[in-house]
Assembly symmetry: C2
Homo-oligomer: 193 residues x 2
């Protein structure tokens, strides 16, 4: 089963005009970086069966999306700063009207949420959703969540249109990267059963 | 049930002589920072029932320990850089022979591993240990793990002397901060049952 995570990032400047010395001040590129690491990295390895997409709805060019493939990404390290540098590099190399590979395994292009969700088995990570262990997963799955902010009502409406279920990973409200870690762990445990 | 995490950090310079612009190059203060955040922070809140101790075995003063109390810590944010700054500040304020509060809820003092473990219900987080869900937890618990490096044979011997069990959280090898997130999630789920 392939795993995909789609993180909707609300405030990161999409022109990459931010400092690596102040990631929270960039519109929270630190959150994006932590979500990428939680999605793709494990101790001494990369999750080759996993892909993470950052859908950036911030100014000046809402809709820029960055896809990072576990099977081909290079230069990805667990620290926030170097991961944010990969993200910034992708934003700086963005070109209108085409998909660009900004570094090995990292792709940047412009897409609406619907374009990304349309052909996926979508699960919406949401407090008060169905607990993870009450669902049956089969085939590939794309898990959708917000960054430090919940999805807007408009974004939520689009995601719910495509989602098979809203899924809860915890009785309390957690960070996005913590939710990703828990989803992975649940599926890792399932796969060895 | 109170939760404690003890992270044995092997390479961070204990004199705090490192740059916030190169946390991996500091002896991996980035790993320490992520473990502190995973231990204490959740979305819009702090885990007041949790404490994290970093036991630093690096040069030039092995054995310096930093304890951060969820119930009283201030100025703790989820990004690596600001958390590493709290850690560095504690190291810079360390004084031989006494415990210093370097900032609200952050304490630095010198202790051997045995001093820290002696009066605790210790669980050793270790690959190939007993799966988390096969253990019965009651009372407070201290979970012990390494940073980006496993415990040395000498450290492991001390931890096993006090540990009730070696505990595994995953069928695969994960980062320390991911293990902490999974332990918390397991206990969060238990508490609402």
């Amino acid at each position: 089963m392939k795993r995909k995570f789609l993180v909707v990032c609300h405030d990161v400047r999409t022109d990459g005009a931010f400092s690596l010395n102040d990631l929270p001040g960039s519109g929270r590129a630190d959150v994006c970086a932590r979500c990428v690491v939680a999605s793709l990295l494990i101790s001494y390895g990369i999750r080759k069966d996993t892909e993470v997409i950052l859908h950036l709805s911030g100014e000046p060019t809402p809709g820029i999306s960055i896809r990072i493939n576990g099977s081909s990404v290079k230069y990805l390290n667990p620290d926030e700063r170097s991961t944010a540098a990969l993200i910034r590099n992708a934003l700086l190399k963005y070109r209108e009207g085409k998909e660009v590979q900004s570094s090995p395994g990292v792709f940047v292009w412009r897409a609406g949420l619907e374009d990304i969700l349309r052909n996926e088995n979508v699960y919406y990570l949401k407090e008060n959703g169905t607990p993870l262990n009450q669902l049956n997963f089969s085939g590939d799955a794309m898990f959708v969540l917000g960054d430090h902010k919940d999805l807007t009502p408009e974004e939520e409406q689009v995601v719910r249109k495509y989602a098979r279920a809203a899924v809860s990973v915890s009785p309390i409200s957690l960070y996005s990267e913590q939710c990703i870690t828990i989803v992975h762990n649940y599926l890792d445990m399932l796969e060895v059963k």
